[in-house]
């Protein structure tokens, strides 16, 4: 675009500014989406490096590499960074890039809020990571930060942790307000709620969950702050409080939170399977209702994380049945994906490989979740590696695979270049093998009784821990390949067509590749 032409337009039509200030001051949903995605990638690598420290220590029984105190800090930061720094910002980044393009809107509804909600995140994680260098070390109480470990017995850096959680929460809340306002008010004419792409639906529901529970998390850490510094006794039995109350409040946030990390994955998977099976998605409306039921049920199952705290039988039964009920809508989704693939003309490009792996491996994670939901059995599994295997199966080959699938699926639209199909398939297979070698044996050592969160273990767990560590390093190394593939695609490659994929549905495929800086300045007509 020449300067002469530009001068004839108003400033809604200019291209991106130049230099670093473009990224600091940007209010463009595509720029902010890219920022979120790169930030989450950086956090994924940092959190991953911490996982490598954990697995290296567990390679053999006995103390090998790090001090137990440092091990605990790695464990805590790994969990916090992966949940709040990697998975959640990645989904927000995808929402920024895709939601406006999918609903035919020119941008997010609140662009400056969008900028703010991204740019406070690096500070939140800067504060959290800086606690590693403080006296007494970083938070060491696990990502669930149960009181009194996180209050009475916490290192002094806990105050910085609390502040950083407040900032992360504020960022998520602003991000989700933006998503809801955009979806509710800026859809192209003719796009009814039940015509919205499923990724948009999944994010609408996720955003409502975030608005409902992130303030509760903020409340929980505020109570901790008051217990630590202002002499209150929310979680201190001596002053009339109750540490179990902390667990209730935390998991009231925590259980919807785990669905926040999986619902957008459901949306992504639906799009990818639909495209590469070359069939319309089976059961669109049941997909929407399934996500809604999962979201609503997520508010009444939290105590299944705490079956062993000493609840009465009636409560244990209620939470057991309510939890198992979630398997019904989740099963509906899995069957719908399978039915979509059934008799489709499937091709196995990398996004589809990740999506199929998602369906299979997420279902394995779902089944181990059902096992954990059985109250009497949970007394055996509680706080063992079986739990670790379960939630890593739903989060790594679940959420993380779906994010990788989304990156491969939409990166031709973002950059205008096709990724390297050969290298990306290698990335998929290395990740697929790595994930399973890492986490599948953890089911067995968990059932055999290995407790989680210890830097050492009994000798009988040695073999499978060694296998698990080998898998973890394979998975970790293959993510460096992912970084290489993404950089290679950004810098060049075969040019992508606007449609990119044969038979891809959705408004985002009607604009050029790469997507122009401003899309849908005039709303498209949706029939």
């Amino acid at each position: 675009m020449s300067a002469v032409i530009e001068s004839h337009h108003d400033d809604h039509h200019h291209g991106p500014a130049k230099g670093i200030m473009r990224w600091v001051l940007t209010t463009n949903h595509k720029d902010i989406g890219s920022l979120y995605l790169w930030f989450s990638f950086a956090m994924f690598l940092i959190g991953g490096a911490m996982a490598m420290v954990i697995r290296a220590e567990l390679f053999q029984p006995g103390m090998q590499i790090v001090e137990p105190a440092f091990y605990n800090q790695m464990l805590t930061l790994h969990g916090l960074i992966m949940v709040f720094g990697a998975v959640m910002p990645a989904f927000v980044g995808l929402a920024n890039w895709l939601v406006p393009m999918m609903i035919g809107a020119p941008d997010m509804a609140l662009p400056r809020l969008n900028n703010l909600s991204f740019w406070i995140l690096p500070f939140a994680f800067g504060i959290l990571l800086s606690s590693l260098f403080m006296e007494g070390g970083a938070p060491n109480f696990g990502w669930t930060f149960y009181a009194p470990l996180s209050t009475t017995y916490a290192p002094p850096s806990v105050t910085f942790f609390i502040f950083s959680v407040h900032i992360m929460g504020a960022s998520s809340i602003m991000g989700s307000i933006n998503v809801i306002v955009t979806i509710m008010n800026m859809r192209a004419p003719g796009m009814d709620l039940m015509k919205m792409p499923l990724f948009v639906w999944s994010w609408l529901i996720t955003a409502y969950l975030l608005i409902a529970v992130m303030p509760v998390l903020a409340g929980a850490v505020t109570m901790m702050l008051m217990d630590i510094h202002f002499g209150t006794s929310f979680f201190n039995a001596a002053g009339g409080g109750d540490p179990v109350l902390f667990q209730h409040i935390f998991w009231f946030f925590g259980h919807p939170e785990v669905y926040i990390m999986i619902l957008p994955a459901f949306g992504i998977t639906s799009h990818i399977i639909e495209t590469f099976a070359r069939k319309q998605l089976f059961g669109y409306s049941s997909m929407v209702w399934a996500m809604l039921s999962i979201a609503i049920l997520s508010f009444v199952v939290w105590a299944h994380h705490m079956f062993t705290v000493g609840m009465p039988l009636a409560a244990e039964l209620f939470f057991m049945w309510a939890t198992m009920l979630i398997a019904v809508p989740t099963g509906v989704k899995v069957f719908n994906w399978v039915a979509t693939m059934f008799r489709g003309s499937i091709t196995y490009e990398t996004p589809m490989l990740f999506a199929i792996a998602f369906v299979v491996l997420f279902t394995i994670g779902g089944f181990s979740g059902l096992m954990l939901a059985i109250t009497p059995a949970d007394f055996q599994y509680h706080d063992t590696y079986f739990v670790v295997a379960h939630f890593h199966y739903v989060l790594v080959p679940g959420s993380v695979f779906s994010i990788m699938a989304a990156v491969y699926y939409w990166i031709p639209k973002w950059t205008g270049n096709m990724y390297d199909e050969r290298l990306s398939r290698l990335h998929f297979w290395l990740s697929f093998v790595g994930v399973n070698v890492t986490f599948f044996p953890q089911h067995w050592i968990g059932l055999a009784g290995m407790p989680r969160r210890y830097p050492d273990y009994a000798l009988q767990f040695a073999d499978w821990n060694m296998v698990s560590t080998a898998g973890a390093f394979l998975f970790g190394a293959s993510q460096v390949l992912f970084l290489f593939i993404v950089l290679k695609t950004v810098l060049g490659g075969k040019k992508a067509t606007p449609e990119v994929w044969e038979g891809a549905r959705g408004l985002e495929w009607t604009v050029d590749s790469p997507a122009p800086y401003h899309t849908f300045s005039t709303p498209p007509k949706v029939s």
């Binding site: 809801i180 903020a218 109570m223």
Partner: protein, 183 residues
Amino acid sequence: MNNSAKKTLKYLSLAVFGMFFFSFALVPLYDVFCEVTGLNGKISQSEEASAYESQIGRDLTVQFVSHNAEQMPWVFKPSERIMKVKTGKYSNATFYVKNNTNKPMTARAIPSVAPSNANEYLKKLECFCFEEQFLNPGEEALLPVRFIFDSDIPDSINNVALSYTIFDITNYDEVEIAHHDMR
């Protein structure tokens, strides 16, 4: 931004503040819930203990359990670990405490009952857990509990454990709380 977007924004912001306050409302709700259902062995005090008195009682075994919260140096133990009582009759038990440090200290005991469904059939007329305990260095005391079980207590319950955890609250009124000194 158009008006409907402003409206959505307003409702969502209200929801955020609402949920933040709801998280604090969970604190009293939790206590009320525990008290109504007897969960967690939380004990509700009532003046109507005399209604529990009756002639037709049955045998019940009561176990007394004492715990010291971390870094609470006092000696704290029940005078009798196991007691046979009759429901519908008042019983008395005592706990021995001694401040074996060289500074005056204040303590508070937090009670709990197991199984938790025994809780609604138990009334304590007098309990050291109702008030703070102050002991000078080297001082010892016998702390009383006077309680009664309702004869309506389910037949499935033959054993009830009354547990007390004693906490050091000497510095509690000062803003600088114990945990800073612990390190």
